[in-house]
């Protein structure tokens, strides 16, 4: 009977297409928005993946990775003095203006790496390789990311190449390598140089040290070392998961981004309930005399409920598949551009599937309630 139930639904092309279309749109809206939101959230912590370190030591009021409150230069040695710290290096990070070839100013995320270790250096070099990184120790040399190589090439007619120069704060910067990075939360292109060189580029302030990157000694976990640094120095030391969580929490609490996305996702759910619920209910109403006939012939409420449930779930799964498929197409289309951020997580897929199944259950429930109250004798009433 469940097979016949599906044939009943598939035979009503208009309703079937309307149902699948509504659920596809709903699944697309929820998955796409969730993927963009997840991508955006992942951008908030991209900084940490671009400069990998086990422990991030910051001023005690810093709440997230994109925030900078300068430390004293001596704080590096205070961290190094913690017995379980293997090594600790200074890091400069700041948003500066760079002058493109056409004379226009572009904002960049300048990263100053400890020259001795180059801790926090980019992991994927597109041009220049390790040699390019080594050359960061020479004055005025920089490694730019792919985005910077394009953005700072305005007026040049081609992306920046090794050997090209541009200005950061009226000082020359020579490109010695091009790297690949994950996009920065605020969309700034990355420019890497040595810590000392970064201090030359950046406007002089009393305190210039942005962060300290540290590694635990062998035999100690990042969690216990971070705790020890915090206890002994009064600075705030985050492990990577802690800093990621703190950053994401900060975005939830301090920006309207989650509410904005959540609103659209809820709208997707509501549209799904409205379209699927209404269409399915109207399908049930149009088939009421047939369902009544089935009841008269001895189909119990349980069987008819199962038939309606199978019908609703089938269109739900088809709509979900199509919605996720279209989202994936969207993802492939925006991938080369890199905008908007896009990341489909397993949680997104499971969450959307759950939402679609809830929508379909509600749609089926409206129909089931109607049919359950239906007297089989209704079929004799003309």
């Amino acid at each position: 009977m469940l097979r016949l139930a599906l044939k009943m639904l598939l035979g009503d092309r208009a309703k079937y297409i309307m149902l699948v279309g509504g659920l596809t749109f709903s699944a697309l809206l929820m998955t796409q928005q969730m993927a963009v939101f997840t991508g955006l959230v992942s951008w908030t912590t991209s900084h940490m993946r671009n400069m990998r370190a086990s422990i991030w030591v910051v001023e005690h009021r810093v709440e997230q990775v994109n925030e900078t409150k300068a430390l004293r230069d001596t704080d590096v040695n205070r961290v190094r003095s913690v017995s379980t710290v293997d090594y600790a290096v200074p890091l400069f990070q700041g948003v500066l203006k760079a002058r493109a070839a056409d004379g226009s100013d572009k904002q960049i995320q300048l990263i100053g790496l400890h020259a001795g270790t180059l801790k926090g250096r980019p992991t994927v070099m597109v041009e220049g390789g390790d040699e390019g990184l080594e050359r960061l120790r020479i004055a005025n040399n920089v490694v730019v990311d792919v985005l910077a190589s394009k953005r700072l090439a305005a007026g040049l007619g081609r992306p920046l190449q090794i050997g090209d120069t541009f200005e950061i704060n009226d000082r020359e910067a020579r490109v010695v390598g091009i790297c690949k990075t994950e996009p920065h939360f605020f969309g700034y292109p990355y420019v890497f140089t040595s810590y000392d060189q970064a201090l030359q580029y950046a406007p002089r302030q009393r305190k210039m040290l942005s962060m300290i990157l540290a590694e635990p000694k062998e035999g100690h976990t990042a969690v216990e070392v971070a705790q020890q640094i915090s206890d002994e120095t009064g600075l705030r030391a985050y492990t990577v998961p802690e800093f990621e969580k703190a950053t994401v929490d900060w975005v939830w609490k301090n920006t309207g981004i989650p509410v904005s996305f959540l609103t659209t996702i809820i709208l997707g759910f509501v549209v799904g309930v409205a379209v699927a619920g209404q269409t399915f209910y109207s399908f049930v109403l149009e088939n009421l005399k047939h369902l009544g006939a089935l009841k008269a012939m001895g189909a119990g409420n349980g069987l008819i409920s199962a038939m309606l449930f199978v019908q609703a779930m089938t269109v739900g799964l088809i709509g979900y598949g199509m919605g996720v498929g279209l989202t994936a197409v969207f993802g492939f289309m925006v991938r080369p551009i890199g905008q908007p951020p896009f990341l489909i997580s397993i949680e997104t897929l499971v969450g959307t599937l759950f939402s679609i199944l809830v929508i379909c259950s509600l749609a089926a429930l409206f129909g089931i309630l109607k049919v359950a109250r239906l007297e089989p004798a209704v079929v004799f009433r003309g």
């Binding site: 016949l4 639904l9 598939l10 001895g298 119990g300 089989p376 004798a377 003309g382």
Partner: protein, 253 residues
């Protein structure tokens, strides 16, 4: 409750009651809107007979049919179908009873338009738990019996009204029910097709232990009846057979 009807040794006997409904009262609505459709109607039909229930519109024919078919609860009275009392039976047990023992033919055929003829006919068998292959074989056999062989994969909408009613008859008989309930089976059909349908139903009524009850106000089919129950204003006015039945049939022509 076991609602399986056991075949009695005297199957086919005209004297054995298929339906025995006594003093049935059924009202719809409450307060000022209350309408009493059956006012103590008593009705009986025998095994092996084709029994017509006739009367003017609103006299309670369809309500009586619904009650004896087990599709409608009633307020007072007793209803027995093939010796099984439907009084006090749980809803699920009545549903089970209908599924096994009752076949339905509706005025508007009520075939599912998105299913083909074989699938429509096999519904009662599937409801009774038969497998798909067996159901479809049996459905094809019934389709042949009602003269529609070769149209197995057609949809109901591709058939004429008379052909659709034949399919409905095949669906009503496919699981070999002992009681066949027909609601105005010929009223939507022309005279010739109506007679063909009545021929099929008469043949069906002659099956051992079966009873066919037809509610109708189509006088063209009165001549097929073994007995006729006349209803008026929620009550049974008369039960006709033999000579009175012949006179009644002639009087309506």
């Amino acid at each position: 409750m076991n609602t399986e009807i056991k075949q009695s040794p005297s199957n086919g006997s005209m004297s054995e009651l298929a339906i025995d409904a006594r003093s049935v009262v059924k009202a719809f609505g409450v307060g000022d809107a209350r309408t009493v459709a059956l006012k103590g109607a008593s009705f009986s039909a025998r095994q092996g007979e084709l029994h017509l229930v006739v009367g003017p519109s609103g006299c309670g024919k369809t309500t009586l049919l619904s009650v004896v078919a087990g599709t409608l609860d009633w307020d007072e009275g007793k209803v027995e179908v093939f010796g099984t009392g439907l009084d006090g039976m749980r809803r699920s047990a009545i549903t089970d009873f209908r599924r096994r023992n009752v076949g339905f033919i509706f005025q508007q055929f009520n075939l599912i338009p998105t299913l083909n003829l074989i699938e429509n006919i096999s519904v009662p068998l599937l409801l009774n738990g038969a497998g798909r292959r067996i159901s479809e074989e049996k459905a094809a056999e019934l389709l042949k019996r009602v003269g529609l062989a070769g149209k197995e994969t057609k949809r109901p909408t591709q058939l004429s009204g008379g052909q659709q009613q034949r399919v409905a008859i095949a669906r009503a008989l496919v699981h070999e029910p002992r009681l066949v309930i027909c609601d105005e089976p010929t009223s939507a059909l022309d005279s010739e097709t109506g007679h063909q349908i009545m021929d099929l139903l008469t043949t069906a009524a002659r099956a051992p232990g079966r009873c066919v009850v037809i509610v109708t106000h189509d006088p063209r089919v009165y001549g097929y009846a073994d007995r006729i129950t006349q209803m008026e204003d929620g009550r049974v006015k008369a039960v006709l057979d033999g000579e009175p039945l012949q006179r009644f049939v002639q009087s309506t022509h």
